[in-house]
Amino acid sequence: MYAEQISIFIENKEGRLAEVTAILRDARVNIRALSLADTTDFGVLRLIVDNNETAEKALKDEGFTVGKTKVLAVEVQDQPGGLNLILNCLCENDVNVEYMYAFANPQCKNAIMIFRFDDRKKALKILTQKNIKVVTTKEICDL
């Protein structure tokens, strides 16, 4: 039920992000969603792509440090209160969001948001109980 995200350590240097996207382009990897968190010296690029293995190998071959993390891709109603509905039920159960990012879902009216929770298992259980749709990597790739 989890989606797999790859993350990459990049220094805050001119052109570094473009190098990563060029590597993925050359490896014919499609980026589905992305977020970049940064500090003054470095950043962490988090990606949901259509082919994790190819992406990971291509990046490692070029000397990048690549990590893999299980995240939850959650369908969010594209209407007022959509995101709040999800956050409320998690918050009531003491589940914290470490980070989150969104991408548009071209197939339907709803958005998909990627969540990294402090307690992934508990979050999944709560979301399932609440009948909130959790999307798998495969489904994301097929979008």
Binding site: S7, F9, D41, F42, V44, F64, T65, G67, E98, R116
Partner: protein, 434 residues
Amino acid sequence: MPIYNMTYETMPKEELKKVQFTRLKATLDRVYATVPFYKNAFDQAKIKPGDIKNLEDLQRLPFTNKIDLRDNYPYKMFAVPMENIVRIHASSGTTGKPTVVGYTQRDINTWAELMARSFSAAGATHSDIIHNAYGYGLFTGGLGAHYGAEKLGASVIPVSGGNTKRQITIMQDFKPTILTGTPSYILHLAEVATEMGVDFKSLHFKAGIFGAEPWSENMRSELEEKLNLKAMDIYGLSEVMGPGVSIECREEQKGLHIFEDHFIPEIINPDTEEVLPYGETGELVFTSITKEAFPIIRYRTKDITSLNAQPCSCGRTHIRMNKPTGRADDMLIIRGVNVFPSQIESVLMESKKISPHYQLVVDRKNNLDTLTVKVEIDEALFSDEIKSLQNMELSISNDIKDYLGVSAKVMLVEPKTIARSEGKAVRVIDNRTF
């Protein structure tokens, strides 16, 4: 300028040599009898203290290295029982363990006298007020200068390092006339004073004694110009005693007089260990000839310099050493703290259980030394969360501060970005100019 100990500091060379030889003999007899390390070293070199017939024979004795001090950690180099030790100091070792030194009451008195001589050489008298900005603690700088100032009969302000703004207020209100500290910290003080709108020229300093780290003639000009005082270089290391092994005189400010009635200097080729004649540049080696608790025989300081036997206009007959120009090893001196790259490696291995590629970058920003430790990220260290990466930087930085006593900024960098020459990582980039 007054000379504190006229008898010894201006003793004719021949007479001084006789004093040195008598004291050397007594030291050798004592270390052979009381310190197993020296007995073994002399036995291995097949030499007995009795074989030393003149000062030149000193060259036949084996050297002592910093690693020997570590191997005998903490007290095995002491030549007196612990009940006779009144003070213990320590400095950085090449790995986790510090180098420990001890002093008897007589050693403390000798050290105080040599620091009093140093203050006198800088032009200080009993009517001066000495602002002592050397750190107090295990580091020999603070207490060494303090006891010397008291011995001289001057008034000492034991302000220590740090609290820079308060120091400037003290300088304005207490009106000190002599300033001591590490040159980089003193320049930092000057900058903070400027920021506070305090002009050093309105203060009352006539001389400064600066040491514990190498500094250049350019820095002297800067210090003298900014602080409106005469800047004297002082040299010392805890293994030999502490500050006050040698001092520049106010008259010449050209080379540091080594107190030869207490220490015998030699210059050697660091590779062949051959003794070089006066004037040639090599590694400085010291033998102490009056110390009781921690006598040291032919200690390799790793400092690169040369000796000048020419007479000096100040009247002192003691030989001068030129300002050290470098090191025969990879030790860095950062704000007066000795740092070996291997110590940083130990910290990384202990705190993160890993052996990453790292590099030390030393800069001098606003006259203050800064240390940046670059650590190459790898999969074991990496996290998708910024928070944990930043916490890791912080925890390494705290560990370095805890173990080495020096503040460092830790910076994670991408793999393979630290320059490697012949496959070996370049461990140190020192951008400072001395």
